[in-house]
């Protein structure tokens, strides 16, 4: 298995514990559940795993209305009813109306694929329970055509969750688990480095300082995360903001330039401006 070890890619920094979790899941062919703050690269992980191991990727993005059955297959009864009224010949073969879902597609893949089940906590609370058997045995039964679909190669399943709902124990037992911690400044510097290799050292450290300072502001609805930081740095570079603008005598009382990239809702921006204003009033320069 030495050739198929995941250690991060040229554009994705994986910490030791993350690579261990992924490798365990790949070796034992078990699903891996990834949790962590939004924007720490949970979804990106599946894409990078697929790329670095050279495997096809199937993405299933979960919404609040998604049902487990939709990942397996859907039977389009309405289309069949309509065809029967129009006298279409297709109507006699029920398999014309069975639409394979993402799990079926992954099971039918020619080589071992990577299947991403994104944001599983968005779905109904029973959703993970409905997939227990399918993820465990990697097979399911199509009642309409009476056939058993089983995986040709057990896919590497990456499941992400934002912790909006508790997942059932029975489901958790079948998965490996990894919680992506928010990166510390050193790891963050590495992450920024792979995305912006030519970034000047001093600009990077100033940007990181400003970023962690914004994260420390209490009461923000949504703290800025890695992806916001990367966007912000991209903007700083595009606008060619001078280093001095990031640096200030009393760093707390300065609003970082282009902060719209870091704060994503008006209450947070408002709160932040208020804090800065208060701070200026109490500590006049």
């Amino acid at each position: 298995m030495a050739d198929s070890r995941f250690t991060g890619t040229s554009s994705y920094i994986a910490t030791d514990d993350l690579s261990m979790a992924v490798n365990a899941a790949v070796t034992l062919e078990r699903p891996i559940l990834i949790k962590g703050e939004p924007g720490t690269g949970k979804t990106q992980l599946a894409i990078e795993v697929a790329e670095s191991l050279g495997k096809p990727l199937y993405e299933w993005h979960i919404k609040s209305t998604t049902k487990a059955q939709q990942g397996l297959y859907e039977y389009d009864a309405v289309a069949r009813l309509r065809d029967s009224q129009l006298g279409d010949d297709k109507v006699h073969d029920i398999s014309n109306y069975i639409m394979p879902g993402k799990i079926w597609e992954a099971f039918a893949a020619e080589e071992q694929p990577v299947l991403l089940i994104d944001e599983i906590d968005k779905a109904d609370i029973e959703f993970p329970n409905d997939l227990l058997q399918e993820l465990d045995r990697m097979e399911f039964y199509v009642y309409e055509t009476k056939e058993l679909i089983s995986a040709r190669h057990r896919p590497i399943i990456v499941i992400t969750s934002n912790n909006e709902k508790e997942l059932p124990d029975a489901f958790l037992r079948r998965c490996f688990f990894h919680y992506i911690k928010f990166p510390d400044q050193d790891t963050m510097a590495q992450i920024v480095d792979v995305h912006f290799p030519k970034l000047k050292k001093d600009l990077l450290s100033e940007a990181l300082n400003a970023f962690y300072k914004v994260r420390e502001v209490r009461g923000l609805k949504k703290k800025p995360s890695t992806s916001e930081l990367l966007d912000w740095i991209k903007l700083l570079l595009a606008e060619d903001i001078p280093l001095e603008a990031l640096r200030s005598e009393n760093a707390r009382s300065a609003i970082p330039p282009l902060y719209g990239a870091l704060l994503k809702n008006e209450q947070d921006v408002h709160l932040f401006e208020q804090l800065v204003f208060l701070d200026r009033r109490t500590n006049p320069q």
Partner: protein, 391 residues
């Protein structure tokens, strides 16, 4: 060799199952961990821990088990109820403080003193007096640690320091699985329903389909509607501990009924009165507080606010800064209360004490004034009245 470790994890309160243990063995057999302890640690963690809240506990047990911490300590750990061992405040000791421990006769002595103290507190608690902990009464507070938890960094541990966290004052979470007697409460809460069809049209509207198909000369014309949801949003704040211990049952029933009745239900706990923080989990209430202004910022004003509490306390706890029995509050509770009421105009206070007794307690009077008299007894009839004023 992993089986004793497995049992240690379970004794430590982790819900690790046999499946997970077998998975770990399988992973070791396939050579994933190699020869290194670090790799084994990572592998064991990814296979056995399924909740980030348990990571710290796992580290602690792992550290204790594989470092071979001496047995006297292990026995001591078993003597203490599990919930006392939950992680609370984190306080790492600095070098000077470690030196101070040494000067007191070292780690062993400290542990012994701690155990004596735990025994003593247990008796006192059974004696019936309330555990209103004030900083400064704890002998451990005198040494300058956090009075509620002592965390002693173990030397030479890996990654994150595995350590012992001792907790004392703890309240149970309200159990929302109590079903008995909740029916009446559910019926009362049901009046707060406001159905709305929102979101994607994914249900067949049968009568409209028949109607449209008939008008269409028999050709099918499918009509869909969105599912009906209860659109009411509720923010429930529950008083816990102290004088509320007598009312735990009725509170559990209310909580249980509310949990199943409202799709958008958020709940927070407080102790005696509202201050700058509330919390969601009583066991981790020192570590995971939610600032009250974060709550008002996060949940929009269309939430209906329901307090459940006996409002029985010293009036200072409401009206003065620093009046809280648990911590030093910069602003009086009444100010926080007014802020909440300003954000959530629809609010009621449910009081489990019978209303005949309300007049004898000055703090109840104060709270009623703050709430504009929207205080109702926690009975079916009172709940009915309260819900009416929420609508």
């Amino acid at each position: 060799m992993l089986i004793p470790f497995f049992y240690r994890l379970r004794d430590g309160g982790m819900k690790t199952s046999i499946t997970e243990l077998l998975t770990l063995h399988e992973a070791m057999k396939s050579g994933l961990a190699g020869q290194s302890v670090d790799d084994f640690y990572l592998l064991a963690r990814t296979a056995l821990v399924k909740d980030e809240a348990h990571l710290d506990r796992f580290d602690r047990i792992f550290g204790a088990y594989f470092k071979g911490v001496d047995d006297s300590l292990a026995d001591l750990m078993q003597d203490i109820p599990e919930e006392w061992l939950q992680r609370q405040a984190e306080l790492s000791l600095s070098d000077e403080e470690k030196a101070l421990i040494e000067s007191m006769g070292g780690f062993e002595e400290l542990m012994k003193a701690l155990q004596e103290r735990l025994d003593e507190q247990d008796e006192r608690h059974e004696g019936g007096s309330k555990w209103i902990g004030t900083a400064g009464t704890s002998p451990f507070g005198a040494y300058g640690y956090n009075p509620e938890g002592v965390r002693i960094g173990q030397q030479g541990s890996r990654n994150r320091s595995a350590a012992k966290v001792w907790d004392k004052r703890e309240y149970r979470n309200l159990d929302d699985s109590v079903e008995l007697g909740t029916r009446n409460i559910k019926v009362a809460l049901r009046r707060l329903r406001k159905f709305a069809r929102e979101g994607a049209a994914d249900q067949l509207d049968l009568s409209d389909t028949i109607d449209k198909t008939a008008r269409n000369g028999g050709m099918l014309d499918i009509r869909m509607v969105p599912e009906r949801h209860n659109a009411v949003k509720v923010l429930l704040c529950l008083d816990i501990g102290g004088s509320m211990d007598d009312h735990v049952r009725i509170c559990e029933e209310t909580f249980s009924a509310a949990r199943s009745e409202f799709k958008h239900l958020e709940y927070f706990y407080f102790h005696n009165f509202i201050y700058e923080n509330m919390w969601k989990d009583n066991r981790r209430r020192q570590a995971e507080k939610t600032p009250t202004h974060e709550i008002t910022n996060k949940y929009a004003s269309d939430y209906k606010l329901i307090f459940v509490g006996d409002a029985t306390m010293s009036p200072y706890e409401i009206a003065y800064p620093g009046g809280s029995v648990e911590h030093w509050n910069e602003e009086p509770g009444a100010v926080w209360m007014k802020r909440l009421l300003k954000t959530y105009p629809k609010a009621i206070w449910l009081n489990p004490e019978p209303n005949t007794r309300w007049n004898y307690t000055p703090s109840v009077k104060l709270v009623r004034e703050l709430m504009d008299d929207r205080m109702y007894p926690l009975t079916i009839a009172g709940l009915d009245d309260g819900i009416k004023s929420l609508r």
